[in-house]
């Protein structure tokens, strides 16, 4: 599998330690990862044509993850989204009626890696 063709994971989280550690974990399974410190810069700068998965923290200052998701869907971005929640919050459907994948934080990231690999393989 060429590195260039592997899916790009966009990771949006305001907490630096979380961002860095998750990026490291994702890179260990051979996926490319691009990190964003806040939702605004992510919405402004990410490549909408790339193939991959978007990982959003639900709870962020300014714009929450669900608002970012709504914005993406409104802009026609169809990439799969994984929401990271603090506690087992139930996923709310976005405007298209899709329920994003919800993943409780601090629950073991084997699960997340599996999700990413599955989502990226599509």
């Amino acid at each position: 599998m060429s590195v260039q063709l592997s899916p790009l994971i966009h990771l949006v989280d305001d907490d630096e330690a979380v961002r860095q550690s998750l990026a490291l974990l994702i890179s260990t399974v051979g996926l490319r990862v691009q990190t964003w410190a806040n939702p605004q810069s992510f919405l402004a700068g990410f490549d909408r044509q790339s193939i991959g998965v978007i990982v959003l923290d639900v709870r962020m200052p300014g714009i929450g993850g669900l608002t970012v998701l709504d914005t993406l869907r409104a802009q026609g971005v169809e990439q799969p989204v994984i929401m990271l929640t603090g506690h087992g919050t139930v996923g709310l459907p976005d405007r298209q009626g899709h329920t994003p994948l919800m993943l409780a934080k601090a629950r073991g990231y084997g699960e997340m890696v599996q999700m990413l690999e599955k989502a990226g393989a599509k």
């Binding site: 330690a17 550690s21 990271l84 603090g86 990231y109």
Partner: protein, 493 residues
């Protein structure tokens, strides 16, 4: 000011209505009594004067029967000394003449009616003549009205009585008794009595009148009545306000509990978020490290970096907990210790919960063994401890039938300690629960936080005391608070 007025307005209105209604009733009752007394007096006066009038007829009839020109004794000459009201007696024998010619028509009238008739009337001067035409001799009595009144039997004191009594005939009148009628102001209640004397020959009108003035109303009773109502309503108002204040206090207490729970919920949510971040980082780092180490040629530098990060994030989590602990801890750990009467503060806690106990048909009793004493404790903390223990007992007792519910509080002291024991008849404490009963977050109650007893134990420990729990035989639980006695700890420290 206006709100105070608004609050008292219904009460004042009620008081005014009660005062006016009661006052009217009292006044009417008094007026009725006065009227009855007036009418009784007037009837007696009428009867007495009528009797006198009849007496005059009898005197005349007797004279006519006994008299005659041939009788030398002249009994009529002695009459005025027997009947002081008879001023003079005149006679006309069959062939004689009256001293005054104007008597003639009266005599003729008397003969025609076959009874005595009134002759010359001068009521203004207080006298009238009574004429009886008879054979052989006609008589005329001149009667003094003032002396005619039988004062010894008179129902009223003529000097002081407020009743005005007059004898009227046509437009003439004689004032028997002056009274006070007409002297008081026009506003008032006039009583009138009007009756002609019960004697055909002397149809004089007896008129009695009494004016009741405002001053004669039973003001003292009316004021007393009004004051009574003021007292009753003030009492009722105070009682009601007391009850409202107590309700409000209960509301505040409930609100306070809700607020505390909400605060706790908020705190828990905040804490969860604060801890989630470092825990996420720790997990991700260690999992990344373990993946890296599983490769054939592990990138040890990256692994080391991940592990350093994990350690740093674990520390961060620990810091979060430390900060949280410091923020909830009270600055004055445990509060100021004071000398407190354990019995008083227990009663206070019971008083606050009294309505709740009533709702649950429970009447806790306190027994004091031995003399009064004081313990050294933080009053607010201790009250909270007793409150929590009482609530705990109440929740335990909710699980048993009504008639089996009881809660005994015992207060006593040893040489060094004051003790408060709460013994309930609830389901008691299971053996496996007992060792963990004061652990934080340990609860047997569904939806319970498991903090109540834990908090109690911490508070009592901070005061230098102990809180213990044990199973009671045959049933129920016993909680015992032991606190150092105030004097002793003062000596020790």
């Amino acid at each position: 000011m206006t709100t105070t007025l608004k609050r008292f307005l219904p009460w004042i209105a009620a008081w005014l209505i009660a005062t006016v209604a009661g006052g009217v009733l009292l006044a009417r009752a008094e007026l009725a009594t006065l009227r009855e007394a007036f009418e009784t007096d007037a009837r007696i006066a009428h009867r007495l004067l009528s009797q006198r009038a009849v007496q005059h007829d009898a005197v005349l009839a007797t004279l006519a029967l006994l008299g005659g020109p041939d009788i030398q004794s002249r009994p009529e000459a002695r009459l005025p000394s027997v009947y002081p009201q008879i001023l003079s007696v005149q006679r006309r024998d069959r062939d004689g003449q009256w001293a005054e010619r104007r008597v003639n028509p009266f005599e003729a009238q008397s003969r025609q009616l076959r009874r005595a008739v009134l002759g010359q009337i001068d009521l203004d001067q207080g006298r009238f003549d009574l004429v009886l035409g008879a054979d052989p001799t006609s008589y005329l009595l001149t009667i003094d009205v003032r002396t005619m009144v039988p004062w010894s039997e008179w129902p009223m004191d003529p000097a002081t009585s407020p009743v005005r009594v007059t004898l009227n005939h046509g437009d003439q009148h004689f004032v028997v008794q002056v009274g006070r009628a007409g002297t008081s102001s026009a506003a008032g209640w006039p009583f009138d009595f009007h009756k002609t004397l019960a004697d055909e020959s002397q149809p004089l009108d007896l008129v009695a009148r009494r004016d009741i003035g405002w001053a004669e109303l039973p003001w003292a009773w009316m004021v007393a009545w009004s004051l009574l109502w003021a007292a009753v309503l003030a009492g009722a108002q105070a009682l009601l306000r007391q009850r409202q204040e107590r309700q409000r206090a209960e509301e505040l207490l409930r609100l306070g509990q809700v607020t505390r729970l909400n605060t706790l919920g908020e705190l828990a949510a905040g804490m969860a978020h604060e801890l989630n971040q470092p825990l996420t980082a720790v997990l991700a780092n260690t999992q990344a490290a373990s993946r890296l180490l599983a490769e054939d040629t592990p990138d040890l530098e990256t692994v080391r970096l991940a592990m350093t990060q994990a350690v740093a994030q674990a520390r961060r989590a620990s810091d979060v907990l430390g900060r949280l602990r410091r923020s909830v801890e009270r600055p004055d750990a445990g509060g100021e210790l004071e000398s407190i009467n354990l019995l008083d503060i227990t009663r206070k806690a019971l008083y606050l919960l009294e309505p709740t106990f009533k709702q649950h048909h429970l009447a806790p009793d306190i027994t004091m063994t031995g003399p009064a004493f004081k313990v050294l404790a933080d009053p607010i903390g201790l009250e909270q401890v007793i409150h929590n223990l009482l609530m705990n007992a109440l929740q335990a007792l909710e699980q048993v039938p009504l008639q089996e519910r009881s809660l005994h509080l015992t207060i006593g002291s040893t040489d060094t300690l004051g003790t408060l024991t709460l013994q309930d008849s609830g389901p008691g404490i299971a053996a496996h629960v007992l060792p963990r009963i004061f652990e934080p977050f340990f609860t047997t109650r569904e939806g319970g936080l498991g903090l109540g007893l834990s908090l109690c134990e911490t508070l009592v420990s901070n005061m230098g005391g102990t809180l213990t729990a044990r199973q009671h035989s045959p049933r129920g639980a016993v909680f015992e608070v032991r606190l150092p006695l105030a004097l002793l700890s003062g000596r020790a420290s």
